[in-house]
Symmetry: C2
Subunit: 318 residues, 2 copies
């Protein structure tokens, strides 16, 4: 159920801006494109403000509503934020938000600061797309193949392919409804979770070949030097997903991946399960994150970072 005041505002105005958090992910992009497609179906004039759009999502429709700036003869009437926990996460678009006469905040982050005139914050929702599904339904806008594909993408992305504990019975009910439309879900799932470039596959190969298991095989460690990455033509973007593969090794409770972004600039990623709180370690080095996924940057050389991090982990978590 969506707050009826929100549905009323959406129905009332025509010039509507949608914006999500900076570095938009699958849920942010899915929610923006789905809502823009739906609003335009009922004669609205939606503009998505987004300053970068990852190539990976080029298969989605609704991208035609994306602009870097609000350029329109008519003034902006309603600003809707999507998947954006606080105002700072809007980046530069905060200035438009401040000028907007009416603002709506639709999100599922538990930490949401409820900064809108109207707020629909559902922490029990798997994703913002799951809420947008309800918004579109409440607005009585008919779904179609394009809207369904955007919503599917966002829900699949944020639930890790229906795997994360945020997935609920209602999540699958929504997906069941969306699959009544033509959604190329095999393609979407592959794109989101399985597809890797040749270079990043080779880097994953190198990483898995050199992992070390410590603490009775419960602690998985890997380091990648800039030289090693360069030898494969890889950049730090190719590191994506390596720590997940480390953490998937049977019996591993904590994984640590350290890689050299630059000389004396070492990125550290942590993953863990259950009670092993890796955010504690990240915070000791001015990093951040959650209990089971965190990270930090340390300005020392690779060997020194390895020594220091492993010592802390072994002291604090084992």
């Amino acid at each position: 159920m969506i707050n009826s005041n929100i549905i009323e505002q959406i129905k009332k105005y025509n010039n509507i801006v949608l914006a999500a958090h900076v570095n938009p992910d699958g849920d942010a992009i899915g929610a923006c494109t789905a809502l823009a497609l739906a609003l335009s179906k009922i004669g609205k004039n939606p503009v998505i403000l987004m300053d970068e759009y990852p190539e990976k999502y080029n298969f989605l429709h609704g991208r035609e509503y994306i602009h870097k700036e609000y350029i329109n003869d008519e003034p902006l009437e309603l600003f809707i934020t999507l998947d954006c926990g606080d105002l700072e996460r809007l980046g530069d678009y905060i200035s438009y938000f401040r000028k907007a006469p009416i603002t709506i905040n639709i999100d599922h982050h538990i930490t949401n600061t409820k900064y809108g005139h109207y707020n629909e914050v559902k922490k029990e929702a798997s994703s913002t797309c799951e809420i947008i599904y309800e918004v579109i339904k409440s607005c009585e806008i008919p779904f179609d193949d394009k809207i369904a594909s955007s919503l599917y993408t966002g829900i699949a992305f944020d639930t890790g392919g229906f795997k994360h504990s945020s997935t609920t019975s209602f999540t699958h009910e929504v997906i069941s409804d969306l699959l009544k439309y033509k959604v190329n879900f095999t393609y979407i799932m592959n794109k989101l979770f399985y597809s890797r470039s040749l270079t990043s596959s080779r880097l994953l190969g190198l990483a898995l070949s050199k992992i070390e298991l410590l603490e009775n095989d419960k602690l998985c460690f890997c380091d990648l030097s800039k030289k090693e990455m360069e030898s494969l033509g890889a950049t730090i973007d190719d590191v994506d997903g390596i720590i997940a593969s480390m953490q998937n090794i049977e019996g591993v409770l904590v994984s640590v991946l350290i890689y050299e972004k630059d000389k004396n600039e070492i990125k550290v990623s942590f993953r863990s399960v259950g009670d092993k709180d890796v955010s504690k370690i990240a915070k000791m080095f001015n990093g951040g994150g959650h209990k089971n996924a965190s990270g930090c940057t340390i300005n020392k050389n690779l060997e020194a970072v390895k020594k220091e991090i492993l010592k802390k982990i072994q002291e604090e978590l084992f």
Copy 2:
């Protein structure tokens, strides 16, 4: 909708044997355990005949009904086959099937030979577990956490985590209903699709490090010698999943993995997308499979097999 004659037979008899195909997979095991749990809830005496049970599924309930032989003072009244396309796939349990006064065949394979007195073969179902969900509902047996977990496991397994094109709106409707019970689906999904042993992770690492791309990066090739596998303490069981990672490389249309089971005994696995029919190649070497996933065994040395296979693939598919 399940054929009412089948529901009638299930309600009528008490001493019921369930059996699936040899080398049971997640769907076969999920279907057998779910149905056994359900039948015992209405006072039946179910026996699952299964001669091996992969350790991976030790988290499921209903295993207590598994036996290698039918040992019971009362004679077997009804034999239900699950996920078993033809009688030969029952293995040694075919003798019990032949002795059974009444037989029911429940399956979703398009090739099912309808060998039972009663047959519920739904080729549009994602999995046998999806059909068993309907059977249990039609029998008016209430679901519970254990039954839901078995059915979830089978459906998730056979759909590749809701990714394969066999997944439908109804599949998600069933999952939505099952998640009203306590199903540890994060654990199940990890167990089915992500978890790897250290050795198999290292072997995957080696394989990804040495892949070759041919035919403008559309053909992905890898060979693993027995010596290489032994150097990591790996066996042919650890090869599982390597070909999927090869096929997930962006732009790859055909993948070929060859590995040395023994001297002059080379296993060949093929994967492809779209129109590239790799079953054609497998058949040339007395192998089998589907258009996009096939395999064969060739009794030559690794180098000779590599040469011969690549030549055929390049001639026939590129």
